[in-house]
Amino acid sequence: MIEAKGLSKSYGSVHALRGLDLEVQPGGIYCLLGANGAGKTTTLNLFLGFIQPTNGAASIAGHVVHVDPVAARRQVAYIPETVMLYGMLSGVENLDYFAKLSGCTHDQAALRGFLQRAGLNPTAHDRPLKTYSKGMRQKVGVAIALARNARALLLDEPTSGLDPKASNEFSELIAGMARDGAAILMATHDLFRARETGTHIGIMRDGVLRAEFVASEIDHGTLENEYLKIMKED
């Protein structure tokens, strides 16, 4: 569903990403770990079609993103590190707005249903988004993904800055979406969350995918040691 083949991106002499190969099947959650500047966000931007690859290809549901970005994006939902949306609109109105942008029209009950499934308390549905906490905003982002019935989900450090409870709730939410058949690619700094939520884990450094693990086959201590070892390599 989400696939990269030899994916590379350079800015002049700077190689932001080099020959990335990865695949996320429906139901899978692939967590990309790495320090700042490792190439995680570049990878996501390539999958989203925001930037063009120098070499290789990123594809979503068989659509090569840089060849047919519209078809690829039709299958994708994206949740950035901070879901800003429109502060003056309520959660329901924001959801309605972005659902309409996708060409989906849902009635009020359906929209509230998506927000509820995303874990947003009904008392908050009609409050302006500017009064929401970061965790609540992330939930609206998830609701937008649900409303679009996206088959692939790209997340850029979605739990960064969330408290442990909100972070845990968010992880459960995306695990639920994976169980419903979505393929999820998530960039994160959070080793613990990657180990707990992900089905696969990749560690990146300097634009290169240095190691890959099956989450169920590695314990937290080993993952941490491997991560630190890669970060310390010359």
């Binding site: 570049t42 079609g49 994206y78 800003m84 309409k100």
Partner: protein
């Protein structure tokens, strides 16, 4: 999509309050214009009534054979004056323009042509630089600020907030999404502008006529084109890669340049290239001409009495005196006519140069169109002055024929005194004249939109600093 954008737009409190403040200022400016016009109208009506009463009284006295009332010379050079009233045009209260530089009414006698124009002042090339507090001034200055507030971050803000990225991923084509956003905001700004014009006309005009409707449409169309220009400029500024702060600074600089500095520079240039003829010089020439004419007339009169010594007494002497005064006034008029013509041609040259240079500033272009529509532009003032001179000539001729022919004034003569008709104004004709300005504004806006259209097809959905990492 436009509905969703509209719902978004009306939730932005700074725009809502900005629009309300604009509408209040427009109402205040229209009220100010109306009060000014009404006070002038009252003064003019009083002066007109006084003139009529004097003429009626003299007519009665002429019927009774009163010597002063029947003397055409005494009437022409003292007792009788015509009150010239400039008719208020539809929309004048909205763009006071140059009408505050010219007298709304004046008393005119059979003396020379300079006296007929004594109350007139040289028209300012461009009032925009100093800015009357009228509706035209408020709208020309403040509409761009409202548009800048609504548009300065139309793309960069969406990108910085991450909304553009979400919208693009949600399946919206970035260019279509942004065009719809731009269109909604442009239509909303145009809506506010039309509302402002409607309020201005409701407050500033005493009655609604077909002419009022044409003025409303004219003002609405001109200001819509002005909004279109600023909205296009803001979009053109946003298609670059700068952030919102930079765009706000660039647009503020554009406002300063196009609305304040350029019109002021045009004003300065025009007044330096074509300085107004010196009033002191004109007054000195008038004095010299008067003295020369008086000397010549007295000489003629003395010679006449030398030839006709038997007539040097009573009525005949008085008639001869007035004939010499009439001759003197004719000579003065002949002497200063070239000066007055130079004055008018200088004003015309200034207007022509101003009109050529105004295309550099959309604010000046818009202001010009608004004063044209309100009949308060320099050309309308020149038309009025020309009409005054024509009337003055008729008035002089009426009396001079009777003075030269030694014909006493009768009651019927008073009834036949020439009356002044202010030149008619036509809102439709003004609409045609202002259409060039509208077309220029639309053309510049359209060019900016074409440029934006080309740039939007390769727009970045994310800020440049997020491209790596």
């Amino acid at each position: 999509m436009i509905g969703a954008e509209w719902s978004l737009l009306r939730r932005e409190p700074h725009l809502k309050w900005g629009a309300i403040a604009l509408l209040l200022l427009v109402g205040l400016a229209a009220w100010n214009g109306r009060m000014l016009l009404e006070s002038r109208t009252v003064d003019a009506a009083l002066a007109l009534q006084e003139s009529r009463e004097t003429i009626d009284a003299l007519a009665v006295q002429a019927a009774n054979g009163n010597a002063t009332a029947t003397s055409p010379g005494a009437a022409a050079f003292g007792a009788v004056s015509a009150t010239i009233v400039r008719r208020s045009a539809t929309g004048e209260a909205l763009a006071i323009g140059q009408t505050d530089l010219e007298a709304n009414f004046q008393k005119l006698t059979a003396r020379n042509a300079y006296a007929a124009l004594a109350a007139s002042a040289p028209d300012n090339a461009l009032r925009l630089a100093v800015g009357n507090f009228d509706v035209a001034f408020v709208l020309v200055w403040l509409i761009p600020l409202l548009v800048i507030a609504a548009f300065f971050d139309i793309i960069s803000g969406e990108r910085e907030r991450g909304v553009l990225a979400l919208a693009v991923v949600a399946g919206a084509a970035a260019s279509r999404y942004l065009w719809i956003k731009w269109l909604t905001r442009t239509l909303a700004s145009i809506g506010v502008t039309w509302l402002a014009v409607a309020i201005a006309i409701a407050v500033g005009e005493r009655s609604w006529t077909a002419e009022t409707a044409i003025t409303l449409v004219g003002w609405g169309v001109v200001l819509s084109a002005y909004v279109f220009f600023w909205a296009s400029l803001a979009l053109a500024c946003n298609v670059g890669r700068g952030n919102s702060e930079r765009h706000a600074a660039v647009l503020a600089a554009a406002w300063l340049t196009l609305v304040i500095l350029l019109p002021a520079a045009i004003n300065l240039l025009v007044t330096n290239v074509f300085p107004a003829p010196s009033r002191v010089e004109l007054a000195a020439q008038l004095r010299e001409a008067t003295e020369a004419a008086d000397r010549a007339a007295a000489k003629d009169r003395d010679r006449w009495f030398f030839d006709h010594p038997d007539l040097r007494s009573g009525e005949a002497e008085r008639a001869a005196y007035y004939r010499s005064v009439a001759a003197s006034e004719r000579m003065i008029t002949d002497a200063i006519t070239p000066q007055l013509s130079a004055f008018e041609s200088r004003a015309a040259e200034r207007r022509a140069l101003t009109r050529r240079l105004q295309w550099l500033s959309p604010a000046a272009t818009t202001h010009d169109a608004l004063t044209i529509l309100s009949h308060t532009d320099g050309a309308s003032q020149a038309t009025f002055r020309a009409a005054v001179l024509i009337f003055h000539n008729r008035w002089q001729t009426f009396f001079f024929e009777r003075i030269d022919g030694d014909r006493l004034l009768t009651r019927d003569d008073y009834a036949r005194l020439p009356t002044f008709e202010s030149p008619p104004t036509s809102s439709l004709r003004s609409l045609r004249r202002a259409s060039t300005n509208v077309l220029v504004l639309l053309a510049i806006g359209a060019l900016l939109c074409i440029y934006c259209g080309m740039r939007l097809t390769r727009l970045d959905a994310i800020p440049p600093q997020q491209e790596g990492g």
